[in-house]
Amino acid sequence: MSFAERMLQIDRRIIFLVIGLCTLIPLFYPVGLAIKVGPEVRGVYNYIESLPEGSVFLLSLDFDPASKPELYPQAVALLRHAFKKNLRVIGMTLWLPGTGMANEVITRVAEEMGKEAGKDYVFLGWSPGGSSVIINMGQDLYKAFPTDYNNQPTKDLAVLKDVKTLRDVSYVVSLAAGSTGIESWYVFGKDKYKFELGGGCTGVIAPGLYPLLRSGQINGLIGGLRGAAEYEVLIGQKGRAVAGMDAQSATHVAIIILVMLCNTFYLMLRKGQRRAGQA
């Protein structure tokens, strides 16, 4: 077996070790490289920044705990920004397994920012039906969610005063890990009820949402941990996302090096085989 062949069949545990070290070392010894903010993330930030105090901001946390590392920091950054701007915040989820986590993040950030449940924010929870929940909210929000997550009648909540349907919401951001998510909010929500829509998503699905972004169907997109880190930079409150960027940098570079090495060995092998064939 040639050297190239041996290198191509390297034990996968060595690769696991490299990735593990590339993740752990930067977390213990952060470098803090500068993070450039892209126009996609700035789109969401600028729109929230432009909203007057008391505007209604709906954050739909459409993800489950599997996507927590990427989307939870996005939620924290967006909520901090919205509360800092004194917006009325409505939280909800279209993903049943994410309900507890969504409630926890909204409650935690609200407490941190000194906001009161029912007056400054509300968490509506989850309701069955997927995309039809969006239409139902567009028709009558109180019928879609007669009570909030804490069983308080939504009609009595100060935060929902004059918010009868999605038409009364100034801005919706869906943080999505797949379907039901941003596309559903556009197709069943924005298109009919004419609110402005932004999105946040995992890095894997971000490229698939660029057509919506370029056509103006969403006015901004926070993609993956990088997007969350950019948002943290914009609001001036660095958190988990910025802390994780060094680890992500190192693992990306490690994978690039691994792919380059594998291709070098592959080309060496092919060249050797060609030579052997000619002989």
């Binding site: 390297i10 490289l33 397994p97 926890e104 309701s127 139902n136 028709q139 057509p211 940098s249």
Partner: protein
């Protein structure tokens, strides 16, 4: 019986399909009220679908346990996990926290479900790296183009990559905004046209597989 099994569902599909396709273009209050009612039905049906899903899951795994099929132990774990969570969830009234104290249901959610799902997602990084090393090879010109694009985007999406190759950030933006967006848009249009065609086939009773098989 053929009327109830075949013709009635086809008739309901045809009428509702036509009515609700037209409803979108009719902003009259009566039309909007009808939409409100029907979406509420959809939510209720969604709730029942959940019960149906759980029942089906229980049934499949009960059969596996009864027949002692390979891996039946996992089915037993699933049963224990689901039943345990349901009982504890009902006991805690479905709340993770009551009066500022975490319930047993909250404990299961926060210290079992959240870390387990997070772990499943996190180990992907290791498998992706291993798979990339083994199979991401420039075997053809097309594969070489894909490889080059992937390396540029991976470099341009992280601060270290932008620091080492400053041009990679702008190049990544161009790839995502121009090449990727145009191709994705073409795919989306294709999928949407397919969805429209399939919907028409279902509404007009040409596509009937959703009715299921069985004797007529």
């Amino acid at each position: 019986m053929i009327f109830l099994k075949r013709q009635l569902p086809l008739l309901i599909t045809f009428v509702t399909g036509i009515v609700f396709a037209a409803q979108y273009y009719v902003p009259h209050p009566a039309s909007e009220e009808m939409l409100t009612s029907v979406t509420k039905w959809l939510q209720i049906i969604g709730g029942f679908a959940l019960i149906l899903g759980v029942t089906s899951l229980f049934h499949i795994h009960a059969v596996k346990i009864r027949r002692k099929e390979p891996g039946w132990g996992y089915s037993f774990v699933l049963y224990a996990g689901m039943l345990g969570t349901i009982v504890i969830g009902l006991w805690g009234n479905g709340k993770e926290v009551t009066n500022g104290t975490m319930t047993a249901f909250g404990w299961i959610y926060n210290f079992m479900m959240v870390p387990l799902q997070g772990t499943m997602f996190a180990i992907l990084a290791f498998f992706i790296a291993s798979a990339a090393y083994r199979s991401f090879r420039a075997r053809s010109r097309e594969a070489a183009v894909l490889l080059a694009a992937a390396i540029i985007v991976m470099t341009g999406r992280v601060p270290l990559g932008e620091y080492l190759i400053p041009l990679s950030g702008d190049l990544t933006q161009w790839i995502l905004n121009v090449l990727n967006a145009s191709v994705r848009r073409a795919i989306l249009i294709g999928i949407s046209l397919g969805a429209v065609a399939l919907s028409l086939k279902i509404i007009f009773g040409i596509e009937r597989s959703y009715l299921g098989g069985g004797k007529e």
